[in-house]
Subunit: 474 residues, 2 copies
C-alpha cells in the first residue's frame, strides 16, 4: 500500500471514529459471558453480530456448532458456535489466519465498577466496558480496518481466514477438537497466524516472541475418615494441614527461588542479543510497582524484573481445598487437604520432565517428613512454553506496520502468561504465529473497570490495515 493510499485509509478510519466506537459499544452491550450459562444465548448473539459484520465486506462465514458442554452441576448446555470465516480464495496469494474471541469474563457493577460494565462509557479518552480490551476491541479493530480498506477499494494482497471463538474465558472448550478436525482441510492452506489477544508491556507498541507454559499440581494429604474437632482430637492426630503446609513451604524460598532440583538446568541460557533487548524496552519499574501496589518486588532492575516475569520459571501456591476457608474462626481439623500450586515454565523446559522432577521432589520430601498420613502428588495439567525467532518476515511486516503508524520500532518482548492456542495453531498449520499485542498494559482485563484507550483503538485499526496490506510482500 503506497503512502497515498495508506493516507486515504487512515483518513477513512479517522472519519469513521464515531461509527467504529459505536460498533465496539454495540459489541460490549452484548453480555457474552461464557462462564455464566444464563448468558450462553448472548454469546451466540455475539457470534452472529461478528458474522454480520464480516459478511458486510464479503467474508464467507460458517458458524460451526462444536457440541455440548457438561456443567459442574451435571446439566448439559450447547457450546456457542465457533466462527470460521474466509475472505478471499486466490491460490496465488498467501493466507493469514486471524484468531480472536468474543466472549468475556463476568462483570457486575457492584464488584467495584465505576460505570455499567456492559455499557461502553467514554471518559478522558478511555472507553470503559467489559471486553473493551479483552478481546472485543481487537476483533472489532480487524473489522474496522477491513471495512475501511474495503471502502477505499484497496485490494487485499492476501487471503484471510478468521477463527473467532466464544469460550476462550472458559477454557476454549471445543476449539482444539474443531481445529484438529480441520488440520488437513480448512487449515491446510494457512501460511501464518496472528493472535491479537494480549496487551502492551509499557506505553510503546511491542511484538511478542515467546510465552511461558504451565504445569499445575495438587498435593493431597489425608488422615481421618472425616473432619475432626480440634477440641476433642487436637494433640493426638498427625494433622494433614501440618504436613501440607510444611510440604508447600519447602517448594520455594522467600523470594520465590524454586527449590526443586534439576529445573534450572533446563532453562535456555541468556544470549547477548537477548540481554541487549532489555536496555531499550519501554517498561517503567516504578509505574509497574505503583500499578499493582505491592510493597516490594523480588528483583530491582528493569532487566531482572522482566526476566523473572517471562524468561525464568516461577512457582505460585494458589490455595488449599478441604481446609476451612470462610471468615471468622472455626475449630476444625480438616481430614483431607489438597494444596494447589503451579509452575510457569520457559524454554527449554519440557512439561513431562518438569512433572517427574516435581513429583520426585515432593515424594522425597514426604519420605523425610515421617508422617503416617496418606500423601500423593497429582499432576493436573500442563502446557508447553513457546518461543519464536522474531527475525522473520511475519514479525518484520508487523514491525513496519507499527513504524508506519507510530513512527517507532516496536519492543520485542515475551508474554509472561500462557496462551496455549498459540502452540495449537503453530503445530496444526506447521507455520509461524505472531502475537500482536493491542491494548494498553493498564487495561485491567479480567478485572473491574476494564478499558480501551481511544487512541490505541483508532491507531490499532490503522496498524492492522498496514499489517494486512504489508503481508502481500512476505
Amino acid at each position: 500500500m503506497d503512502d497515498k493510499t495508506f493516507a486515504a485509509v487512515v483518513k477513512d478510519i479517522d472519519d469513521h471514529q464515531k461509527k467504529y466506537i459505536e460498533r465496539l459499544r454495540d459489541a460490549v452491550a452484548i453480555p457474552s459471558v461464557s462462564g455464566e450459562p444464563e448468558h450462553r444465548k448472548d454469546v451466540v448473539r455475539m457470534m452472529e453480530y461478528a458474522k454480520k459484520h464480516l459478511e458486510s465486506f464479503g467474508t464467507k462465514v460458517e458458524l460451526f456448532e462444536p457440541g455440548m458442554q457438561t456443567l459442574p452441576n451435571g446439566k448439559t448446555i450447547k457450546l456457542p458456535p465457533i466462527l470460521f470465516g474466509v475472505l478471499g480464495k486466490d491460490e496465488s496469494k498467501k493466507t493469514l489466519l486471524i484468531y480472536g474471541h468474543l466472549d468475556v469474563q463476568p462483570a457486575h457493577k457492584e464488584d467495584g465498577w465505576n460505570t455499567e460494565p456492559f455499557h461502553l462509557t467514554e471518559k478522558d479518552g478511555k472507553l470503559y466496558g467489559r471486553g473493551a480490551s479483552d478481546d472485543k476491541g481487537p476483533v472489532m479493530s480487524w473489522i474496522n480496518a477491513l471495512e475501511s480498506l474495503h471502502r477505499k477499494k484497496v485490494p487485499l494482497p492476501i487471503n484471510i481466514k478468521f477463527c473467532l471463538e466464544g469460550m476462550e474465558e472458559s477454557g476454549s472448550k471445543g476449539l482444539e477438537e474443531a481445529l484438529t478436525a480441520r488440520k488437513n482441510t480448512w487449515l491446510s492452506d494457512v501460511d501464518f497466524t496472528c493472535i491479537c489477544d494480549t496487551t502492551r508491556l509499557g506505553n510503546k507498541p511491542n511484538l511478542q516472541y515467546g510465552i511461558r507454559g504451565m504445569c499445575y499440581y495438587y498435593v493431597e494429604v489425608s488422615s481421618a475418615k472425616q473432619d475432626l474437632h480440634s477440641g476433642d482430637f487436637g494433640g493426638v492426630i498427625y494433622e494433614p494441614m501440618r504436613d501440607l503446609i510444611w510440604l508447600l513451604s519447602q517448594l520455594s524460598d522467600v523470594k520465590g527461588k524454586i527449590q526443586i532440583e534439576g529445573l534450572d538446568e533446563m532453562v535456555r541460557p541468556v544470549t547477548d542479543e537477548e540481554l541487549k533487548l532489555y536496555d531499550n524496552i519501554d517498561f517503567d519499574v516504578e509505574a509497574f510497582k505503583k500499578f499493582i501496589a505491592v510493597p516490594g518486588l523480588t528483583a530491582e532492575t528493569k532487566q531482572e524484573i522482566l526476566m523473572n516475569r517471562w524468561r525464568y520459571p516461577s512457582l505460585s501456591v494458589h490455595g488449599i481445598e478441604g481446609a476451612f476457608s470462610g471468615a471468622g474462626p472455626k475449630t476444625v481439623i480438616p481430614s483431607k487437604v489438597i494444596g494447589k500450586f503451579s509452575l510457569r515454565i520457559v524454554p527449554d523446559m519440557d512439561p513431562k520432565k518438569v512433572d517427574s522432577l516435581v513429583v520426585a521432589h515432593l515424594d522425597k520430601l514426604w519420605k523425610t517428613r515421617g508422617s503416617p498420613n496418606h500423601y500423593r502428588t497429582i499432576i493436573s495439567h500442563n502446557g508447553k512454553p513457546w518461543i519464536t525467532d522474531y527475525h522473520q518476515p511475519l514479525y518484520e511486516t508487523a514491525a513496519k506496520a507499527i513504524k508506519r503508524v507510530y513512527n517507532v520500532e516496536p519492543d520485542y518482548t515475551r508474554e509472561a502468561g500462557s496462551i496455549p492456542i498459540t502452540i495449537t495453531f503453530e503445530e496444526l498449520t506447521g507455520k509461524n504465529v505472531i502475537l500482536l499485542p493491542f491494548g494498553g498494559f493498564d487495561d485491567m482485563a479480567h478485572s473491574q473497570n476494564e478499558k480501551m484507550n481511544i487512541e490505541i483503538y483508532m491507531n490499532g485499526c490503522k496498524m492492522m490495515a498496514a499489517f494486512l496490506t504489508g503481508l502481500g510482500s512476505v
Copy 2:
C-alpha cells in the same frame, strides 16, 4: 432415697420407656437449628416444648428474651428465649442448677445420614437423630427422671433451677449477659451446678474434672491491592501465600510439638495421683484409632494419648481465608491471606500470657523472614482452661449414683474440648460445677448419624434420679 424407693423409681422409668423415647422423638422432630435463621421459630417452639414438660411437675418457668442477633448479612433476628426454671423454693434445702441446651447443629439427609435426621429412628438398640445425644437426650432425661420421681411421690431433697438455652451451637449468644445480670439475684442461692453436655470417654461411665481452654489466632499477610494472575506476575511478587505457609509451618513439628517458646513452662506438672488415674481408665486405643480411622497417632500408650488429648496443649491449623479453596485448578496469586490456628490450653496456662508469647513468636519469625509484605497476628478470642478437685461431695454424689445404677466406679477424666459455660457458672455462683457426661463416646455429635443408645438413655434417667435425691445429704 432408700433401695426400695429407688427400685420403684427404676421400675417406673423402665415402665415408661416407650413414653420417654417418644418424648425424645418429639423433641428431635423439632428442627431447632440455631445456626439457620429460617429455623429460629423451631428453636422457640423447642423452648416452649421444654417449658410445658417442666411445668407438668411443678417447675415455675420464665422464657427470658435476651434480645436481637445481627446476622452476617446485616439483618437482625430475635434471639430465642432462655429458659429459667425453678422447682422448689425451700430455704432449708440446697439448690442445684442444671444447665443444658435445646438447639442443635444443622443436619440434612444428603450429608450422609442413613435416616431422616429429624425423625428419631431406632435400630439395633440405638436412637438415630440430630440432637439425640447433643443435647436433647440429656435434657429429656432430666425431665424423665423428675417425672418418675414425681409420679412415685419421692420428695426432692434439694431445690432445682434450670438454665436451658437455644443458642449453644451458635456461640451461646446472649447467655453470658443474661446470667451476669442475674448474678446477685436468681443465681445467688445456687449451691452447685451440673452440666450434662458431654459424652463418655470409653464404655464406662465417667465424671469430668477438667476442660481445656482455647486461644484462637489469625495471621494475616498481604501484598498487592488485589489478587494477581500467576501468569502475568509469578516471579516478581513476594507472594503472601509463600510467607503465610512458611509462618504456619514453623508453629509445630510433624508430631504437633509446639515450637512456641515459654508455653511448656506454664503447664501444671503431672502428680503421682494423676498418673495412677490413667491405669484404670476405660479407653481402648485400638478402638479409638478405628473409630476415627487415622493411619497413626502421635502417641502410643493409653496414658500418652489421653494426656495429649486433655492435659497438654495442642495446636491446630484450621485453614486459610483469602486463598483459592474451590475444586479444580485456578491460577491466582492471592493478595491477602489469613491463616487460622488455635491452641487448646491447659491448667495453669493463662490465655493472656499465651497470647503474648504466640504473638511474640510470630513477630520474631516474621523479622527473620525478610519479606516486604504486610503482616500481622490478630488475637481472635480465648477461653480459660478449667480444673476442679473431684474429691468433693458433689462428685462423690455423682459417683454414688453411677455405682447405684451400673455397679462400677466412674472413671475420672477431663474433657479435651472447651466448655466456657463451666467457668461462667463457677465464677458467677462462686460454687462448684460438675461435668456429668451422658451419651456414648461414639454418639457422633455434630456429625452425620448422631445417636443415643437406648441403654444409656434409660440408665441415664435412673442415674440422674439417684444423683438428684443423693444431693440431699451433701
